[in-house]
Structures are given as structure tokens and as C-alpha cells.
Amino acid sequence: MLSISLFLVAFLNILLFIIYGFSDTPGVAYDIDYRVEDVASDYCGRSKSQIYFDDNKFEMKSVVEEITPNNEKLYFETQKKGTYLSLSENVYSMSFTEHTSNFIGNKRLPETPIINSFYSAERYLPNRNLIEIKHRSENYLILISFINGGQILALERH
């Protein structure tokens, strides 16, 4: 399962994401790169994103590669836009307003974990997409995100 090699198909372009409090200066961009594995199957996936925060708005561009338990490779690109609201010092609520996707080579929406998480109806519900920042440094940010039902992530600052 783990031996399946995963490659990113496309490069990330722009991930614009602004959250007041993520940084003292507006217009901050971060890279997010994570892998997903399932202990119960041969599924595995990888997502690379760039997110840019500016003036209570964000833009995020992601590239996802997923390999199903049937060894079917799925590629997926998505660009999201939205707004964020600071609920407290380290807690932010994100609202998605725009979503464009490209299922490379796939005519229907795959039901795989990462893509499902991107397309979950919760993404479009208010106050469901919470982020809790756990650590800030000059070069990176540690946060617990709503992604994949709750995931801790380290974001590398540009």
C-alpha cells in the first residue's frame, strides 16, 4: 500500500489566502503539502496547495492525485475563493464562495477521500470550516483545519 508511488501531476499556481491574524502584514501566501493513506485499503493520495490571504479574502489552488484501492489514478485540480472571519485570536471561520475544478481524465466526480473533502457540502455551510492556529513562526504555521474531517497541518510560508 505504502509502496505505491505518488506523483504530483501538475504544479500549483497561486494560492491566495488572507486571514487577518495569520500575519501582521496582508497578502501572505502559504504552501500546503500533505499525504493521505488508509490503513484498511491500498488507497493513498497527495494534495499540494497554495493559499493566499489578503483583506479578509482568500484564494486557494490545489492539485490532488489519488490512487483508489483498485489502483485507479485520479487527478484533480481545483481553485477556490472565499472569505474568512476571525472568531477569536487564533480561530478563523472560512467561507467558500467560488469553486472551479478540473477532473483531469475523469468525467464524473470521484468518491475518494481528498476530493470528497473538497466537495463536501460542509464547505458551503457557514461556520463549518474552522481553522485553529496552534503555532506561528516566521517560516511556518501549525494549524488544525477542517480538511478531511479534521487534520493538523504545517503550512510553509512563502
Binding site: I32, Y34, R35, S88, G149, G150, Q151, A154, L155
Partner: protein, 276 residues
């Protein structure tokens, strides 16, 4: 005390704008000036009432010509069944004024039952009139219980301010509750030692996993900047920032019923793999 007169079959009450026909027991509405003039003539029945006095009482605060009074006298005569030619009850005193025959005027005592019976329907009528007027007041004014635009505007402004502040307060309370609910969505720190921080509702797992990772780091002399782990019911995720600042993020989808020991072993293996 209210004064009332009965002129032939007509009952006049000082404060009323109506007269009552005692024969038919119906109320009649005659012109305001005619009524005021007739009342003045009744007050001085049998005496000459000057034109000036009648004009003053019949058209209070107004300056009108004699022709208005002449017309009013004509109307009163018609009401009483009289006319200018015969002048049976209302006589003209040339160049001076008019006199109403006192034989047809009877003063009615206010205390007597009879006057009450006259007054009551008039009062009822007046009350009904007031209610009709009241129903003509716009609903908002009636609801605000105000009479003029200024007091209505003031009351409406106060009411609007109260509504806005209530809505604002409700929204803030709702938001606070919502924030509290949402901020408790993710687990708090259940293990923190050195570079390792674990967030989990399962403290037993957190302690075992934290110890396991620390042991491995010590054994292999690794000094990462941070290792952050989050364990939810079926999600195990970690973020590692190594000594050089290289970042590794991973999410492992767990099976239901995974035991702590299995998860700890899996996590330590993954961490060691990330450093190799």
C-alpha cells in the same frame, strides 16, 4: 351644567352639534351656524337679540355679512315650520335683530329624567362619532397610542432603537455561543513535551504516543523543530518540521476499533519514516 332647550318638538343641548326630534326620537343635523344662532335665540327667548350678537355667537371668530345671518334665519324658520312672511315664531325686528317666541321654548332641567333621555342618545352618538374617528386613525398611530406626528415619530424612533439593539445583542449572544461550540470542536493539548505536542480526546493514547515519539527521537538523536499530532476518532494526522525546516504532513485514515497500542506503533513508525 349643560343647558338644554325644547323648541317645539326639537331638543337642543348646549354642547351638542345635533338636535333631537322628540316626535320621531331621531337626531337631526343642521348647519353649525344655524344651530348656534338658534341656541342664542333660545337663550334669550322672548327678547330681541341683536344682529351683531347673533353674528358673534353664530360665527364665532369670523366676520361675515348680514346675508349669512338672513340665510341662517331662513333655515331656522323652515325647521320650525315658519317663514319670513308669516313670522309665527321667529320675528324680525327691523334694523335691530330677531326675537324667538318664548311660548315655543322650554328650558329643560339637566337633572330631570327627561333631559337625560335626550342627552343620552346624543352622548352615545358623540361617543360613536369619536370611535369612528378613532378607526380612521392610521393603524400605526393607534398601535403606538399617539395623536400627533411628533409623538408618533418619537415613539417609533425609540421602538426602532430598541429593536435594533435587541437584534444586535441577540446576534452577539448567538455568535458567542456559536464560537464556543466551534472552538471546542477540535481537541485541546493532551501531551506537550519538548518538540512534541499531541491533540487528542484520548489522553491515554496521547501519553503513550508522546513517550514513544520522545524515546525514538532521543534514541536517534533527532531534534526536530516541531512534531504536532492530532488524533480524532478515525483520523490520525501529524505535521513535522525537522531541524532544517523541512515540512512533512500526513493523514492516516484509521479503521474502527483500532487499539491505542496499534495507533501508537503506527504513529512512531510514521514519524521515524518521515526522518529517514
Amino acid at each position: 351644567m349643560t343647558r338644554a332647550f325644547k323648541v317645539k318638538q326639537f331638543v337642543l343641548i348646549e354642547d351638542s352639534l345635533f338636535i333631537l326630534d322628540s316626535k320621531t326620537n331621531q337626531q337631526l343635523r343642521i348647519g353649525t351656524h344655524d344651530l348656534l344662532t338658534l341656541k342664542e335665540l333660545c337663550f334669550h327667548a322672548g327678547k330681541i337679540v341683536s344682529k351683531e350678537s347673533l353674528l358673534e355667537k353664530g360665527w364665532p371668530g369670523k366676520i361675515v355679512s348680514d346675508s349669512s345671518l338672513t340665510q341662517s334665519i331662513r333655515n331656522i324658520r323652515t325647521l320650525l315650520g315658519d317663514n319670513g312672511k308669516e313670522q309665527k315664531w321667529l320675528k324680525t325686528v327691523p334694523k335691530i335683530g330677531y326675537v324667538l317666541d318664548e311660548s315655543i321654548v322650554h328650558k329643560i332641567s339637566n337633572e330631570s329624567l327627561s333631559v337625560d333621555s335626550y342627552i343620552e342618545p346624543l352622548q352615545k352618538e358623540a361617543k360613536l362619532k369619536k370611535e369612528i374617528q378613532k378607526t380612521n386613525i392610521p393603524r400605526l398611530k393607534r398601535w403606538l397610542n399617539c395623536t400627533n406626528n411628533l409623538s408618533c415619530g418619537f415613539k417609533l424612533t425609540i421602538l426602532s432603537l430598541l429593536l435594533v439593539s435587541t437584534a444586535n445583542l441577540s446576534y452577539k449572544v448567538y455568535k458567542l455561543i456559536l464560537i464556543k461550540q466551534k472552538t471546542t470542536k477540535y481537541p485541546k493539548i493532551s501531551f506537550a513535551q519538548g518538540a512534541t505536542t499531541i491533540y487528542s480526546y484520548n489522553t491515554e493514547f496521547a501519553l503513550e504516543a508522546g513517550k514513544g515519539i520522545d524515546d525514538w527521537l532521543d534514541k536517534n538523536q533527532m531534534k526536530p523543530q516541531r512534531i504536532d499530532v492530532l488524533l480524532l476518532q478515525e483520523n490520525l494526522s501529524f505535521a513535522i518540521v525537522d531541524q532544517q525546516g523541512k515540512i512533512t504532513n500526513k493523514l492516516i485514515l484509521l479503521e474502527k476499533g483500532f487499539e491505542n497500542k496499534q495507533v501508537v506503533k503506527l504513529l512512531v513508525d510514521e514519524v521515524s519514516h518521515a526522518f529517514n
